[in-house]
């Protein structure tokens, strides 16, 4: 159970005045106004990348049973509002943390790490300047990507002309499969650095793990976008 540990007043339930957990009162069960919290502290778990997903799911269900708007159908408008906000936070936190990639990106960002492609500043800059967010091509992929983009362009042209080239389709299908395998391998590699990050004893070790993870995430995102492009061409 997640318990607040700030000052005493904030620990008191607005309704019955007794001590309460972070999101609902331990005594009377009423929902409490949402307090600023990151996804980890919403669940009352340490900021670590290795996470017991089965337990997270259990906690998610348990909190849903206490916070969901369905349970506040006839409650005061204020409580309905809190329930809605708390549940949306719960859902956002659960969605982010249960996914290994989402969790890693989120935690790194919490720790002030800027992930190139999807960094907030990059997004905001792109929005302000009117440019499309930049994508960095991992150097070792350059050649393959160039080749694949040529093939995709050719297939797009053929489709426009109503032509059919099974050999090209098959070739692109193969490339897609190999990209997906790479994606899986990158996730596996990413997991390998979780312990280094979580154990944290050695700052240098931790920094090394961080830099490797940022690199892996960027590569993986790049490949993910590529696969998406391939799917779009194949399906259209």
């Amino acid at each position: 159970m997640v318990v607040l540990n700030s000052n005493e007043d904030a620990n008191a339930c607005w309704s019955c005045g007794k001590m309460r957990a972070a999101h609902f009162c331990t005594s009377c069960g009423r929902v409490q106004p949402p307090a600023p919290a990151d996804h980890f502290s919403f669940f009352g778990i340490p900021r670590k990348l290795n996470l017991d997903v089965a337990r997270l799911e259990r906690d998610f269900y348990e909190l849903s049973r206490k916070l969901h708007p369905d349970l506040y159908g006839s409650a005061h408008a204020r409580e309905q509002e809190w329930s809605l906000e708390q549940t949306s936070k719960l859902n956002d936190a659960y969605r982010t943390l249960k996914d290994p990639i989402g969790r890693t990106q989120y935690l790194l960002r919490l720790e002030g790490v800027e992930l190139e492609e999807q960094s907030k500043t990059a997004t905001e800059k792109a929005r302000a300047t009117g440019e499309i967010k930049k994508q960095v091509v991992p150097p070792d992929l350059l050649e393959d990507v160039f080749e694949l983009n040529m093939q995709l362009e050719e297939l797009r042209m053929q489709k426009k002309m109503g032509e059919d080239d099974p050999a090209l389709m098959e070739e692109i299908g193969k490339q897609k499969l190999s990209l997906e395998t790479k994606q899986d391998a990158l996730l596996h590699e990413l997991r390998g650095y979780w312990n280094d990050w979580d154990s944290a004893g050695d700052e240098a070790n931790r920094a090394r793990a961080r830099d490797r993870m940022v690199d892996l995430l960027n590569r993986r995102n790049y490949i993910r976008n590529l696969v998406r492009d391939v799917n779009e061409v194949l399906e259209n």
Binding site: R65, P69, D70, L84, S88, R127, E131
Partner: protein
């Protein structure tokens, strides 16, 4: 006589808080509620559970809905409408396909950007207003059933409905005088109805092919939690489309073989439509069926259709459900073998070919134990019960649904920046930060989109927001935080704040489709005529209740020893007044019922007093009040209740 006011007012409160579940379907609509531990459908006054989603204006310009409106589809097609759900939350430009296939008559004075209006005779109505006519009929059916007003409802919508379509449904509820406590996705509602008696864990796929919409939802059931993992669908795919293929063939036949073009003859097309629907239904259980239509000039079109022919024609339409199913599985990260159960919902799943397709795709025989036409309404009733605080049957049941479509913001270059991904559990939120690009800029425009495509122009435009009144600052200084929240109904809410000044930024919402609040208010006022009708009916219902209570109490009085103490003149007078109350009670005249109640009350005053005296003396001779059998409950109120004893 003995009206127990306390019991009655308690009763009234309980009943007015009753929440019904409504399935507002493309072809048929239903209303249901939880009776004890089971959801049941409330029939209409014709005794039928299904209310056809048909509305018509009769010759007196009165709105007729349901079964009694069906004949107008053929007799006066220009004054009637069906399948209005296809137009909910849509603009003129996205219904061009629909207009080719359906006899929707748009009002000819529509302005660009205005909500669609459908012409019925000399009047025109928006899709939410027409849906409200149907809802009002369901509301009335429920009120007749309960003998009490109904003001709150859970209404189901296709899971794949977008924000505009959901908002339009909610508006329809408001116009019909219903507080819509929740919009529930149809396949999810169906799973609730199934889950009620099968308290088990596992992965369930719900395949819902109705009259006009298709949904596929994949759920994880876990100790009473119904967690939707993924959903997909097509809000313009259903039995209607099969009908249209058959109608086109019939029209071609008639033109080719009989040299008649009846495609512009509304009545003939309506007859053909009725006949092909009957044929389609027959072919679900027979190997062949006859299409038989009376045409103008005394002609007749007859043709036999075999099931094989029918299946060949329907196949391309049925096959359109495969893509969404595959996508839903992919989004859930599941293989077909990992699905534990498959549930079929919607009338079109009665077609054997549809069942075969589902069985082939999920590699198991689907569940069909609940009536596919009713299961969604039953599930809505279950959800209504949960929202009302639950009961033993729904204890521990909780629905966790998802948003079917990604929510995005248009960024420079006309690209969609997705901020809430599809299949996110709702309520879901996202926060975005904006700033200004020139010094002293006071407004920032935001374009909100829904859909999966990369380019904004390919997504559904939900709304354009203007952040206004930003304090003058140098470019890039303001920090405006905009919060997007999708609520448990799947409807978007937006709020904004300039963080440096702490000022709530004013948001001007320009919904791309749909009615503004003022318009909905206006429609509620417009429907005041109907509302007044409802109020009159409610009064009549309440008076009838009161009359029934008195008559029941009088019956009790006749059995009591006090009855013998009345003079024969008194008895005669009571019997006379009783008769007249029974008579006016059957009619719709509130004032007459009221008057008859009051006179009977007066005439039975002495009987009531005598009964109380005898009750007291019975008690004195050693009998308890219980043994004296003074009746109980609202049907025979306790005679010592305060009401008439002044």
């Amino acid at each position: 006589m003995f009206i127990c006011e306390i019991t009655q007012s308690l009763n009234y409160k309980m009943m007015s808080d009753r929440i019904v579940g409504i399935d507002l379907g493309t072809t048929n609509s239903l209303v249901a509620f939880m009776q004890g531990e089971n959801p049941v459908v409330i029939p209409g006054d014709d005794g039928l559970n299904l209310v056809p989603s048909v509305a018509a204006l009769d010759e007196h310009d009165q709105i007729i809905v349901g079964n009694s409106a069906r004949k107008y589809l053929i007799e006066t097609p220009e004054r009637s409408v069906y399948s209005i759900k296809r137009l909910m939350g849509r603009g003129v430009e996205d219904i061009q396909e629909e207009l080719k296939l359906f006899p929707f008559r748009l009002a000819n004075d529509l302005h660009p950007g205005e909500v669609l209006r459908i012409q019925l005779g000399q009047k025109s109505f928006t899709p939410p207003e027409i849906s409200a006519f149907i809802l009002r009929q369901l509301k009335r059916n429920a009120e007749r059933f309960f003998n009490a007003p109904v003001a709150k409802a859970v209404i189901t919508v296709p899971a794949y409905f977008n924000d505009a379509q959901r908002q339009a449904t909610k508006d329809a509820g408001r116009i019909a005088g219903l507080e819509v406590l929740r919009l529930v996705n149809e396949p999810t509602a169906a799973s609730l109805a199934y889950g009620l008696d099968k308290k088990q864990n596992g992965i369930v796929a719900v395949y819902d092919l109705g009259g006009g919409t298709f949904d596929i939802s994949i759920l994880k059931l876990h100790d009473g939690i119904f967690e939707v993992i993924s959903t997909n669908g097509d809000t313009h795919l259903g039995g209607d489309d099969i009908d249209n293929v058959l109608i086109r063939i019939a029209l071609d036949d008639i033109r080719g073989d009989m040299g008649m073009d009846v495609s512009r003859n509304g009545e003939a097309v309506a007859r053909i439509r009725k006949a092909v629907i009957e044929t389609k239904i027959a072919l679900s259980s027979q190997a062949a069926a006859n299409l038989d239509v009376e045409l103008p000039e005394g002609k007749r079109y007859q043709r036999q259709i075999t099931r094989a022919q029918f299946e060949q024609l329907a196949q391309p339409i049925i096959d359109r459900t495969i893509g969404p199913c595959k996508q839903a599985l992919k989004d859930a990260g599941l293989k077909p073998e990992q699905i534990d159960e498959v549930v079929l919902v919607g009338g079109s799943t009665r077609i054997p070919k549809v069942r075969a397709l589902v069985e082939g795709m999920f590699k198991r025989a689907p569940h069909t134990d609940l009536n596919p036409d009713e299961v969604v309404a039953l599930g809505a009733a279950v959800q209504a019960n949960i929202l009302a605080g639950g009961s033993e049957a729904t204890e521990n049941m909780l629905l966790l649904d998802v948003t079917p479509l990604s929510l995005g913001i248009e960024v420079a270059g006309g690209v969609t920046d997705k901020i809430i991904l599809r299949n996110s559990t709702i309520p879901a939120s996202a926060t975005q930060h904006y700033t200004t690009q020139i010094d002293g800029q006071a407004n920032v425009a935001i374009h909100v989109l829904q859909g999966e495509r990369e380019l904004a122009k390919d997504c559904r435009s939900l709304a354009r927001f203007d952040l206004k009144g930003i304090p003058p600052m140098t470019a890039g200084m303001p920090r405006i935080e905009v919060k997007f929240l999708i609520d448990a109904n799947g409807i978007l809410h937006v709020s904004a704040r300039e963080q440096r000044s702490g000022k709530e930024a004013e948001i001007e919402v320009q919904p791309s489709y749909g009615l503004t609040d003022d318009q909905v208010e206006g429609m509620i006022l417009d429907s005041f005529d109907y509302a007044e009708e409802d109020f009159r009916q409610r009064q009549v219902i309440e008076a009838r209740n009161e009359a029934a209570t008195i008559l029941a109490a009088l019956e009790k009085g006749r059995q009591s020893p006090a009855w013998g103490q009345l003079s024969s003149a008194e008895k005669k007078q009571i019997a006379k007044l009783e008769n007249s109350l029974v008579q006016v009670k059957a009619e719709d005249d509130y004032a007459a019922i009221r008057k008859a109640i009051d006179t009977l009350n007066q005439a039975t005053m002495r009987l009531a007093e005598l009964m109380m005296d005898s009750a007291v003396s019975t008690a004195l001779t050693g009998k308890t009040m219980d043994e004296a059998d003074l009746g109980e409950g609202p049907s025979a109120p306790h005679p010592v209740a305060k009401a008439e004893f002044k």
